[in-house]
């Protein structure tokens, strides 16, 4: 048994899409989609913007910084939304 309790994602974590998860643009729907095992996600515009910053290089903090810069919004508001979404996708094994 190799159970490890879940650790909340850290600001310094560099997330990437799990193997065999595809984030791609669908021509038919003219929309971005996430294709994963037993999952098909149709992210809204804001989620797409966040997912496009998940490039295997940026840390979670860098992603938040970039969104703060783009939206000139308070950092804690953006950080809350972003971490909640990313944590959910880590729990679903879409990101790791």
């Amino acid at each position: 048994m190799t159970e490890e309790p879940r650790a909340p994602i850290a600001g310094s974590a560099v997330l990437r899409f799990a193997p065999h998860v595809r984030f791609r643009f669908d021509e038919t729907r003219q929309a971005w989609v996430v294709l994963a095992p037993e999952r098909l996600l149709l992210p809204d515009e804001q989620a797409v913007e966040i997912l496009q910053l998940i490039d295997g290089g940026r840390s979670v903090d860098n992603v938040i910084d970039e969104l703060v810069r783009r939206y000139e919004a308070p950092r804690d508001v953006i950080a809350g939304d972003v971490i909640k979404m990313l944590q959910d996708l880590v729990d679903k094994k879409v990101l790791r």
Partner: protein, 376 residues
């Protein structure tokens, strides 16, 4: 209905042949034979049409898809046209070589079924000696190949008391995901309902176990839980609504809104030989028949959940009431809801023997002798 969206996923039933004989199989009672199956070229054409229509994921299912020798060729074509390929398998006859071929062809994910935790019970439910061991081996091959693994456990009154151990087994096998699916009562499962339907106590215990495991295993293994209709208060949104998200192609090429739809009388389903998938999806009478809300009777028609559960399941309404247009009896508001209470009551008796899945020639009784009428 304002606008018909393209389908998200295709269930490609490549064959009805399967080494297992599970008594809750979702295939129809009348199984297709190998000689009726679509050939390789037809499947490739269908996959191309599906991708052009907007399908994103294809689930290769059956029967057992591995009995098709052209499986890798079909998977490769799905990959080439941009579909995300998922193999739904019993794992029997899966070996490292076969799997490597499928990975090379672009397969993205494997869903592997388990009938129980141990050889005696697993093999008995599957109706196949050696099934459980073959499945354990198959899980190892999938993990070694680096593919994500979903374990699928269909649960019912004869294995539900071991659900905690089923969950432990899935973790030990390295599954990323476990689908705990209560039996859905169609086809073979409906025939075996008295042997399968759990008690309310079993169900409540199972639900508590799933909830506990979900929080304990967060980040380790995802657990999807399909609850049984028969104890529901509101019906499931079957297939996300008729003709709204999914389409199914049968081994012989029938195009259906769901895999059980051929049980409904009065609907003519087109075949992939007669029309392309887009024509069938957007224009066939069978896909139009229960799409949206216009077809609904009361209490669905004026219900504020009509666009959430879409009236439940047409096949279940038909199977239980004889009328496909009625509200799914799984809904507490349905006139026929009491039919489920009756079935639940009967489930407290001793479980009868399974009627295992098999081809219909074997199912038919030998003709009874006709005695010569007595001469008056």
């Amino acid at each position: 209905m304002t606008r018909i969206e393209p389908p998200l996923a295709l269930l490609a039933e490549l064959t009805h042949r399967c080494p297992l004989r599970c008594p809750y199989c979702s295939n129809p009672l009348e199984l297709s034979r190998a000689s009726d199956e679509l050939d390789t070229a037809s499947w490739k054409r269908v996959l191309g049409e599906a991708a052009a229509l907007g399908v994103l994921q294809v689930h290769f299912s059956g029967g057992e898809p591995l009995v098709r020798r052209d499986l890798a060729e079909i998977v490769r074509h799905a990959t080439e046209v941009g579909l995300y390929g998922n193999l739904i398998t019993s794992g029997i006859n899966l070996d490292a070589g076969r799997l490597a071929e499928l990975v090379e062809a672009g397969l993205e994910h494997v869903q592997l079924s388990f009938q129980d935790i141990d050889t005696a019970s697993g093999d008995r439910i599957a109706g196949f000696a050696g099934a459980q061991e073959a499945k354990r081996r198959a899980a190892r091959f999938v993990r070694d190949a680096g593919l994500p693994l979903t374990a699928n456990a269909v649960v019912h009154r004869q294995n539900l008391d071991r659900l905690d151990k089923i969950i432990d087994m899935a973790v030990a096998l390295g599954a990323d995901r476990l689908e705990v699916a209560h039996v859905q009562y169609y086809g073979w499962a409906l025939r075996n309902r008295a042997a399968l339907l759990p008690s309310r106590d079993q169900l409540d215990a199972a639900t508590a176990i799933v909830e506990g495991a979900r929080s304990r295993l967060a980040g380790v293994m995802v657990i999807d839980y399909v609850v049984p209709d028969y104890y529901a208060h509101r019906p499931k949104a079957c297939m996300g609504g008729w003709g709204q998200r999914f389409l199914n192609v049968t081994p012989a090429g029938g195009v259906l809104p769901c895999h059980a739809a051929e049980t409904l009388p009065g609907l003519e389903f087109s075949s992939v030989h007669e029309a392309n998938l887009a024509e069938i999806w957007y224009h066939s009478a069978a896909f139009e028949r229960f799409r949206g809300t216009d077809w609904m009777p009361e209490p669905c028609r004026s219900c504020d959940r009509r666009e959430i559960d879409w009236g439940g399941c047409r096949c279940q309404a038909y199977a239980l009431t004889g009328d496909a247009v009625r509200t799914d009896p799984a809904c507490a508001l349905a006139l026929d809801h009491r039919l489920l209470a009756g079935a639940i009551q009967n489930s407290s008796a001793a479980a009868p023997d399974f009627v295992y899945r098999q081809y219909s020639a074997a199912l038919r009784r030998s003709p009874e002798p006709i005695s010569r009428p007595a001469l008056e």
